[in-house]
Every structure is written in structure tokens, then in C-alpha cells.
Symmetry: C2
Subunit: 384 residues, 2 copies
Amino acid sequence: MVKSLTNRSPVTLSDVARAAGVSLATASRSLNGSAKRVNDELRERVLETARQLNYTPNLSAQAVAKGASSTVALLVSDVADPYFSSIAAGVMRAAEARGLIVTMAATGRSSDRELALVRVLRGQRPRVIILAGSRYSGSDSKQDLVAELRAYEETGGTVVMVSQHELPFSTVLLDNRTGARDLARTLVDQGYRRFGAITGARGLITSDDRISGFAEGLAERGLTLNLERVVEAEFSRNGGYEGARELLARGIDDVELVFAVSDIMAIGAMSALRDAAVAVPDALAVAGYDDIPTARDVTPALTTMHIALDAVGEAAIDLAFAGSADAADASGGTDAAASDAGAAHTDAAERGTGGADTANSDGEQGQIVRIGADVVIRESTPKR
Amino acid sequence: MVKSLTNRSPVTLSDVARAAGVSLATASRSLNGSAKRVNDELRERVLETARQLNYTPNLSAQAVAKGASSTVALLVSDVADPYFSSIAAGVMRAAEARGLIVTMAATGRSSDRELALVRVLRGQRPRVIILAGSRYSGSDSKQDLVAELRAYEETGGTVVMVSQHELPFSTVLLDNRTGARDLARTLVDQGYRRFGAITGARGLITSDDRISGFAEGLAERGLTLNLERVVEAEFSRNGGYEGARELLARGIDDVELVFAVSDIMAIGAMSALRDAAVAVPDALAVAGYDDIPTARDVTPALTTMHIALDAVGEAAIDLAFAGSADAADASGGTDAAASDAGAAHTDAAERGTGGADTANSDGEQGQIVRIGADVVIRESTPKR
DNA sequence: CTGTTAGCGCTTTCAG
DNA sequence: CTGAAAGCGCTAACAG
């Protein structure tokens, strides 16, 4: 049926060794050997033949042999969500700087799928597993997840959580509560007094933190969030859209500004308002959270909390290697002395408001890096 | 320094075998053996002990042993770009249905980086390599890329290209030229006569195809695209923004509608117009291409060409396995007879306008699947 | 059906 | 500095 199955096997290290007239060991050392433990001339010969044969090291074999792979596993809720894809971009950049390959999977916000995926990904024996999706607080399978992750760490891996620090692992902390509080205060200072909100499902920690932080911020200014003006919806663009419709149905005469707990929901909400001919911000102002790229491109531009999303991704992998002085270099053959731990891209942590913050003194709980958030006022909440 | 390095090694298959009191082979067969080639009782015992020990198969070892991994490598230009992240979502969904893990990397539209990444990823010996980023036509390193990819295919892998069929591999064809032609005709039929455009860098095939298709469409209606009203910019949101500014600087009195070759550019352009107080669509209408999710959320909503982006991703992996009746099942131990090739998610190809289309009769050029595009008129180009 | 025994491609002691 | 040899964890003939 097919032409003639040209499937010949890949070039192996021994092919190279033979062609170069050296032993397997020498070939291996020349191609990888951290230090230059091989005669320059020989090494050159090996490198050259490898090039000619278009040799590609079999990463799996390397992983098996040295008992450690060169991959990083990243779990997100949804790749197509700009929040996650921005973080992913940062992770990929930082990983590549360290010569690591990243493997991604999407949980669709299901705890079961998340657990299943962690199991599968563990099979790769990744150096790091990054869990970027927010969790539910009343988590049923939380126990299992922690057990699985613990087991993984005991085999030498590192897990890094992004967002809340409610699991005993290193985490890149996005202090949503504080951020939302800042936002609320700023908004009050701008003149707003009566608020509504659109949140994700109850129990989704990110959403809960943001809404309660927001309420706290209002409280600090002597205001309260009218719970009848808080609607719960799916944590997505469509959820935001539906949430806004629901709010409209309930009546918003007494609401000046709606806070959606994420930009993506806020943007959905704005579309709903537009479709319902409710002028933003004149009839109703809107604010979001995250500062995803499109926040600037909707009309009116969205007031939100800025988080350096790609810095988050970089911070996650930097955190994973904090202290382990790892610095695999994928690009050339430069012998630049590997400087201290987390050399590349340490700017990640700095870029945020808070700096690296060795919280629980290592050990059981892992370390914490805070990435701050800043209020960004745009046209969706004009000064009044 | 650290507590006490609990780094004990992972549970291995032989640990399980020993604990269950069976041979390595039996354990292996119980845990994976396609057919049930093991006594039920024994198998149960193995499965049970595996569970108790929390055993996770070492994918790398499996890969080395069977000479084939269970990964799919996906190369995109930029994960944070909604066009690519939507495709990625589709790839991940389809891959998972087949029990495959996906590995991602971003080229940043650099041919050199693309080549380098293909080399690195080949190290994983992935079953499939999907190249989703658009290429440049005058490609310098094209030769090398093709050589590398060819070599990869000769070792049994499959490469799938997404977008243009200008490299001799299977491809999910997005017929940009035809789509843009349709769009142009429709716009003319709506009453528009004088057009401007914002394109990506010359030579970027996707961009070139769309702009020439658009010009063709106009030509079919007896109109021509005024080249002085075509500006070239970076293929990104900011490029669109700058492109629009440039257009404004050149003067747009004689332009009724600007076609940006991608939604992301169109959205950047709309922001520029908003900032410059040019009313859309009254002073200037805008149209894009791709129908990314946010196209609906900008104001006015963007007229564009709809491509089922996640179907594209699914089609890519379906195409990779077309005819090879692969159907690894990651989830349970169900023994549902693996139906024909590409069983899961064959809807992908169907969803598009064109169906699966075994073009070059297999072999040298690979197969082709077309995914169609449909005009979606929204408020940014009202009827006139 | 089950166990033995070779490898898979690579790294890494351990001798020379 | 270099080579021989022993694995890494798992699969796949090959015998029983």
C-alpha cells in the first residue's frame, strides 16, 4: 500500500561512536559530559561525526539512564484562556532557558481530570510539575492530589503551585484578596458607592478570594457589598455574559459598578451589556481582574488589576530550581561558569510588587514567591 | 541544609512484580498487555498491588523499550496568541483521547528557532510533530527544516503542518486565499468600494495569501486594492495598532474599510482607531480573519472569517493517525474494540467546509485535510 | 498462560 | 583520558 516503508531506525550514539572510531563512553562524554573530560581532538571528531550523521540524542534513553528527565509538566485549566496561555508562555520561555521541554495538559477545571493528568504526567518523571489552575476549597479529591504530589516529590521532583498557597508545596502566590481589596478602595476613592459583582462558582478559591477581598476593601471605606447584587456564574467569558444578563434581570438601578472577578468574565459581561444596550460606563461601570491583553482592546478599555502573567510563569520555574544551581544550557557549547542558583530570568520575581519571600523556611510547606498586582484604571471606570 | 532528602527512588515495575509475587513479564503484561494475555486472578492481584504501591509506569523506559514514545510535539509561533492557543486546545483534546501527551514549544516566528526546536523535540522521539506556525516563503533555512523533518519521518514519525501546504508533509490546509476572496466579495456586495489593508511582513505566507486572495476577490468585482493604502506591520496586536496609525498618517479619506489579515491585528487596529477618535464603522469599517474568541467582544464586534480553530487542532492529530488504526486508551481498562482509524473526534474534518481530501494520494507529499472558513458579518462592517 | 532472557539507547562507575 | 561493562525501567521474543 505504501511506497516502501523507509522506516529505518534513528541514528544512535553507538552509530556515532563507531563512525568516529571511539568507544560508546567517549562519545557520550563528548556529546554531553558536563566537564570537558575528553581530549579536545577526539571530542571534535565525535561532535563532527554526530553532526554529519544528524544524530539526535534519545531523550527518553537519557532519562532512563540518568534517572531524571529534562521535562517540565504544566497543568492549566484551559489553554485557550488568555490567563493561562500567558502564564504558559512565561513557563515555556524560562524552561527553554534551562534546556527543558514543557509538556502541557488541560484539566477543564475538573479535580478528577486534574488528578488523572498528574498521574499520567508523573509517568514522564518530569523535573517539575506546575499546577496553575485554581482549586476548589471544599476539595473532595484534595487528599489524593496531595498524596500523589507528595509521592512525586519524594522521588525527587518539585511541584510548584500557582495562585493560592493552600497546598503544602512551593507556590507563586497571587495575592488575590489583597489585590481585590486595593481595587475596591481605589474605586471607592474614585467616587463609586454602589457595587454589584459577578463571581465564579462558589468554592473556586481564586474567585472567592477576590470577591471577599473586594468586600473587605469596601468595608474599609465603610461600604458593604449588596449580596443581592452578586451573581454566580461559570468562570469564563460566557459565564460573564450570562452573569451580566442575570444581574440585569435582577435590576441594577441601585448599582453603579460591577466587579467581575476575572477579565475574561468582565469582557463577557461587557458584551452582554452592549447587547442589552446598557452603556458602559455611563449606565454601569465595569472592572475586572488579571489585565489580560485584550483588556485594553475592548471598549471602553477595562479597569482591572494588572498581574505580570508571564512573569508568573517564569517565577514558577525559577522557584522550582531555587537553590539547586541547575543551569542546563540548551543553546551552544559555551562553557560559561554556571553562576548562582536561578541565574537566568531572576527578574521574574522582582518584576512583581513583592520580592522572593522564603516563607515557611523551606521543608514541609515549600517556598513562596509573591507576584503583586497593581490597579490599572481605564475608561470602563472613569473618574466621577 | 535540607531536612533529610527523602529522595527514595520511584516504585518500579519489578517492585510491583515482587510484591505481587509474579514475574516481571507478567506484571508488565497485566499493566499494559493489549489483549488480556494474563490469568484474570493474577492480573487483578498485580493491578491491586500496583495501586497500593502507587506505581506509575516510567514512560521514558517504556519509550526506550518499545522504541516509540507516547508524545506529540506541537510547535507554535506564540502560545499567548489566541489563534495558536485555540489550535493547541484542539490538539491537546484529540491527543488525550488517544492517550498521548503533548509537548509544546514556541518559535517566536523565527525560522532558526523553529529548526532548533524541531531538533530538540525530535529527541523525545514523538509520534507526531505538528508545525502550526506560518512560514516565510523565501525561506532560507527551509531546506534544513525539510531535511530534518524528512529524517524524522524516516525514523517512523509523522509530521503534520497546519496552514499552507508548501512543505512536502501532511497538512491541515487553511485555504486562506479562497477565504479572503470570499470575504472581499461579500464586503463588496455589502456596498463597500474603497479598501485599505494591514498585512504582516511580506513573505509571511499566511499574510500574503490572505492579502492576495482579498485583492482577487475585489478584482472579481471589478475593483482593485490601492497599494498605497496597504501597510505592512508586525503580525501581532501591536503590529495592528501601529499599522492603523500608519494608515491614518497616510490619510484615509479615500478608504471605507480596512482589512487586517488577522483578527489580532484587526483588534489592535481598532484600538488605534479608537485612540485616534476615528469612529468604527462610521468613519472607517474594519474586517479581520480567524474569528478568535474576542472578535465578538470588541466594539463594534468584528466582521471576520470564521475558522474552527480547535477543529484544526483535532484534525491535525487525526490526520497524523489516519490509516494507522492507533487507539491507545489512557483512561480505564475498558476493552471496547478499537473501531476504525481515527475513530475519536473524526468530526474535526467534517466540521470544516471541505471534507477530508486525500489529495496527493499519500506518499511523498502527505495527505491534506481542508478546513473551510465562513464569512461572519458583524457590526464592524454594517450593511450600507 | 507464565517465566527467562535479551535487548532499547544512554550514562556511569571502575579499571587501565 | 579512554574503554569495558554494568545497569536504568520496561518490553518482547522465546521457551516451558
